[in-house]
Symmetry: C2
Subunit: 147 residues, 2 copies
DNA sequence: GTTCCTGCAAAAGCTTTGCAGAAGA
DNA sequence: TCTTCTGCAAAGCTTTTGCAGGAAC
């Protein structure tokens, strides 16, 4: 995905976020790497390039990004929060064997619901859990070996 | 909701869970109170009746219940896990003002999705966030007062 | 008698807070 | 100059773990 300094800086200033070096680097990582990284993942990836970097800054940065609508916070993992640069409506699938989170298409606005007539909805989430194809394969191979 | 000792004991033994006093009390609370209590909520409610009760036991008990399919764990709150005795398919709505969680009807199996053909799905969750009617009312009243 | 459960104490792990110095406008 | 940001240290919180005594079967 494109992630030039100019592109990243504009993304930030468009949302009234000062384009500090750390923020640009975090945003760059989110675009470059994609997926649904944790704070720790981002920290470990950027730390070598920015020796002075603190985890607190990652927390601060991501809070700002979420507040300003630049990224989505995903609370699917039991222990750590995850962050997603993809804003379009989609669901999340957590593989309980390998921990990977996959996106899948779901038209959230078309989900038929009942009982929320008087409610103001600001956020919709769909998340599934189970086993991804990779882990399913490995499991079936193991079973064969045991025979 | 009915919650006699016999009923609760049977619910436990049906799932191969030994009906200890603590477990019966926790299960009774879940049936009686309903809703989506946290560990701390349950602990504070039962502690007066069971002075020796430990929070660890609540954790242990709920883990067992979830593992044995007696209750559902809900990870909608950012900080604390919540537990739900209602097993039927339904969505959860978190009011970001008062923190209350509401159930709503959603036929999860009919949600049209794409991209999970090879996946084994074991759990489906739908949760929304926003403002409940009560909090919406209070907000509009405050605005009127400010005029 | 043997297995399982409870609860104390402590630890673990993620996240937040207070604050001083640095950077940016 | 004045506001904002960064990062260290410490604290806050929920949850987990180790272990010894007790309960259940």
């Amino acid at each position: 995905m494109e992630a030039s300094i100019e592109f990243l800086t504009k993304k930030l200033t468009n949302r009234d976020i000062r384009p500090s070096y750390q923020r640009i680097k975090v945003l760059e990582y989110l675009y470059r790497k994609g997926g649904h990284p944790t704070v720790d993942e981002i920290f470990r990836a950027l730390s070598p390039d920015i020796p002075s970097l603190s985890k607190v800054t990652i927390y601060n940065t991501l809070h700002t990004f979420v507040e300003m609508g630049l990224v989505r916070a995903i609370d699917i993992d039991d222990t750590e929060m995850r962050y997603d640069i993809t804003l379009s409506n989609h669901g999340h699938f957590l593989c309980e064997a390998c921990g990977t989170i996959f996106n899948f298409e779901v038209n959230i606005d078309q989900i038929p619901i009942e009982g929320l007539n008087q409610f103001k909805i600001t956020e919709k989430n769909v998340y599934f859990k189970g086993l991804c194809p990779n882990c399913l394969n490995q499991l079936s191979h193991r079973k064969k070996e045991q025979k």
